[in-house]
Amino acid sequence: MFWSVAKQKYLLDTYVRNKFMKSSFTFLSMIIIQMIHAQDFTISGRITDAASGEALIGVAIYLEDASAGDVSNEYGFYSLSLPQGEQKVLFSYLGYETLAKSINLKQNSNINIELSEKSAQLKEAVVTSKAQDRKVENKEMSVVKMDIETIKEIPVVFGEVDVIKTIALLPGIQQAEGSSGLNIRGGGQDQNLILLDEATVYNASHLLGFFSIFNGDAIKGIEVYKGGIPAKYGGRLASIIDVRMKDGNKKRFAGQGGIGLISSRLTLEGPIVKDKSSFMLSGRRSYADVFLAFSKDDAIKNNTLYFYDANLKANYELSEQDKLFVSGYFGRDVFGFTDNFRVAWGNGTGTIRWNHIFNQKLFANISAIYSNFDYSFGIKFAENAAFSIDQGQEDWNLKIDVTNYFSSKSKLYFGGQNIYHTFSPGAFRGDNQATKDRFNDVVIPRKFALESALYLDHKYKFNSRFDVRYGLRYSLFNNLGKGREFRYEYSDYGAPIASDTFLYKKGEMYNYFGNLEPRVALNYNLNKEQAVKASYNRTAQYIQQASNSANSLPISNWFSAGPNVNPQISDQVAAGYFRNFKNSIESSVEVYYKWMDQQVDFRNNAQLFFNELLDGELLTGIGRSYGTELYINKYAGKFTGFLSYTLSKTERKVNGINGNRWYRTNFDRRHNIALVLTREVTPSISLTGSFVYQSNNPITAPTASYPYDGNTYGSYPARNNVNDKQLDYHRLDLSINLDPNKNKGRNYKSTWNFSFYNVYARENAWVINFTAEEKEDKDGNLVQTGRNVSTKIVLFKLIPSFTWNFEF
């Protein structure tokens, strides 16, 4: 019954889908035809850094009277349609000299722009008139951006520059200590789409989450959409975390690197053909294992423990209109315990992009993207009993994004993408022939899916005060053969039993879901300093991580929607008030409310690892999250810094958990405060302090205890039921950056960073454990004392660190 209805629905929807696809293609071709006939005078071109040739993203381009304006896109391209005649156009970007260009506009013109960084002396003096680059109207709401220079100033644990950890200081973004996962506006860690040069990064953590995989030297900047997500992006509920790699210096050969407590790094970049093409190569490796070798304990000595990563990027200018980018990332974590035990995981991504400028108003980019995450666990009992368990997932993604700059009032974005997913839930194999001779391989069949999307997104400026951006994304998810699916029955105690098996042929589309995802963002400028904004977006998510712990482990594999799993859906509304003060302070207040449907959790005692019947262990429910975010940023002057405050609440209601009542998620912290201040003491010394306060998150704690078979156990009738003031988290970090004066006359630069993490050594709880107390008896055996206790594990107390950095 279930199946035949699904089949009918499938046939009907296939028909609808074909119609939808046909009509959207017709629509797209109409736009292209229209645009070819358009007749406006347009200036367009690319904006780059004068010293390095690096494309500058988000440069404000505007007329002096502010009657027209735009910002450069992620490739530094801009296009602005202007009235005929004499025009003074300004190009403005934070930290750079504003360029004013007078143009006598008689025809469409291609104008490439180079902007120079402000010199150190000017940085202080020339803050007065340059608030334009932070104009309130250009700010997208619910978007946070950080450039790598700011990120590098903020102290982090072990002095390891970390874009993910630093971004978590901004409002609406939370992170637990010792984790690389982010919880954005009440979303789970797997509800963030992390992109590195457009490629999905499935696990952004090194060393189980103590560090992120992003090497600061190879990164240009990071942008996080926590709401008002443009139709271009999709696939995750909560956010888009867009990390862009540096393109590489087009003017000269340059390098930078550093030696820190945890890792050392080296980045080389330079022109392949001067001003036309360049490359960037960056590598980083940790050396904790180097210290292990000094251990007196043989067991420790023979262990391995390291991570490394490499970023590379190259670009080539095929013509004035065509540009090719190739970029890739490869990283790996390896832990080995003697030669008997080995865990390794890592991401690999590759992106090939082709920018094409059809004409001054039509910019297109086509990307072919590969992304992979794999995890391997090896164990050796004996020479002929050595096994490994491998799992992972792989994506092939083809993506087209087009921007049509109709006029200074109207801009249309459209495009689509197709991702072919392969999930490998697990393979248990003998590692050598001797083992293979004795043991059979156990392989959970792979699963395949095609995730497609088409979008249209229109930005329209009614007048200098009011603009609107609205869009629609249609996402479509197909489960493909070869594969097998199950129908489940449940035992009296809720355990899944596969009652029917369905087999599908290779390439067979056996199940699908489609979702229309509308997005709207409104902006109204009250005056030059103030704006109010509002947005709505719906997002759909088709793949998720099998995890119900506070932190996701790499063994938590991803699985897709299918006959037994519905896609997750979220609706978010947000409103905000933005205000700039005195050309040096920007501030905003935002409120949001989010409804989430088909949220995934697992039944108690579910088997999440190496389980083909995983989708039978699922429980689904709904979620809601709401909050207020305050942000004040002083970005100019001797004293800079920001304050962010988030007041929020996040809850779930899942059938089968917590007696089917609402419960707070384990990352639900009511208050989050971060204060970061940087003071330039002298031109060569700057001090940064960062204070973080997070009120306690709920923990699942016992409400009673009872004996069974000689032991005692706690009773856990409820989920996340206990809050305790003692579990509040706070911490102060300090860092000193030294850029000695003698660097000025040299063609290389040597700088120091000293940092102190958790200055007052607050013993923040990482984990609370509830255990029966054990003591060693006189023979050294652990014996239960009969007392139940709770203990907290403290991860990091005061950690001083230093890093030496160089640049040439």
């Binding site: 035990f341 004996a382 139940n788």
Partner: protein, 292 residues
């Protein structure tokens, strides 16, 4: 006589990695909510001819470690038309008057009346084949997991073709004292074609002689030469297996990567909260004396 510590090294990956960073561990007293006192049930019956015992006690706040016995309950075990009322020997200990034997394939229902509330639990007695072998071998390997020392092995056949799944619990006694350091010992053939235990052990080469995906299951313990090791194997229900698995999870819970703690599924049915399990299991056993 050489005396060796023989148990699995408890070093797990996560623990080792974390220990590089963890600054400290501290006791912390939290303000925990409390709940109404609930009934706690332990005990049950087996296929052996013995007195059936049920132990009843009261639950306590988490930090408390005293569980007062329940002295005022009415306890009955029903099997078909047969009803046994258990009488109290010691405070909280209820037992049948005569020795009795549980029958394979039959269901038994426990009924308890306490403070005006009724608690029932029904469980079936599953069967199994007797243990072929209980043997002990000295393993000289040290590969990071198994330390050099004496290990006991069990060999048994499974009942083929009768059930898809079998669930087992073991209890190990050294010189007639229950050895508890390994915690709960349970296993199932759910994820393997053949159980760990249905092997014929070659005493000269216990690890190498295994064929086609069968590993012997060592019982890890503090055995020394001269010890008498007795192993009891219980065929248990899927639900009791899940219950014990849940308790095992509670024992090992904690850590940032563990699933949220929850109560294991009991077979007690009542409108009131109750903890524990009415255990009905098929018992076989074997013995070995450790000698060179």
């Amino acid at each position: 006589m050489k005396q060796k510590k023989m148990r699995f090294r408890k070093t797990t990956i996560i623990f080792t990695i974390c220990s590089l960073f963890i600054a400290c561990e501290r006791d912390i007293d939290l303000n925990l909510p409390t709940e109404e006192v609930a009934l706690v049930l332990e005990g049950g019956l087996t296929n052996e001819n013995e007195v059936w015992q049920i132990k009843l006690s009261e639950s306590a706040p988490y930090y408390s470690n005293s569980y007062p016995p329940i002295k005022d309950a009415l306890v009955m075990i029903t099997h078909g038309n047969e009803i046994d009322t258990l009488y109290q020997t010691d405070p909280g200990m209820y037992q049948t008057i005569d020795k009795k034997q549980g029958l394979v394939g039959e269901s038994y229902t426990l009924t308890i009346k306490w403070k005006g509330n009724s608690y029932t639990a029904t469980e079936m007695l599953h069967d199994q084949l007797p243990l072929d072998t209980v043997a002990a071998f000295y393993l000289a390997m040290d590969n990071g997991f198994i330390e050099e020392g004496w290990y006991a092995f069990i060999g048994a056949d499974e009942i083929q073709g009768k059930r898809d799944r079998d669930y087992y619990e073991w209890k190990v006694f050294i010189n007639d004292t229950l050895y508890e350091e390994n915690g709960i010992l349970i296993d199932t053939d759910e994820f393997r074609d053949v159980g760990f235990w249905n092997i014929l052990i070659d005493p000269n080469n216990p690890l190498a002689q295994q064929k086609e995906g069968i590993l012997p299951r060592p019982i890890v313990s503090d055995f020394t030469e001269g010890d008498t090791v007795r192993i009891e194997q219980y065929a248990i229900s899927k639900n009791y297996y899940d219950f014990l698995f849940g308790l095992q999870n509670l024992q090992n819970s904690g850590g940032p990567f563990s699933s949220p703690a929850s109560n294991p599924p009991s077979n007690i049915v009542s409108s009131k909260t109750a903890y524990g399990y009415f255990r009905v299991a098929h018992k076989v056993g074997g013995m070995v004396v450790i000698e060179e």
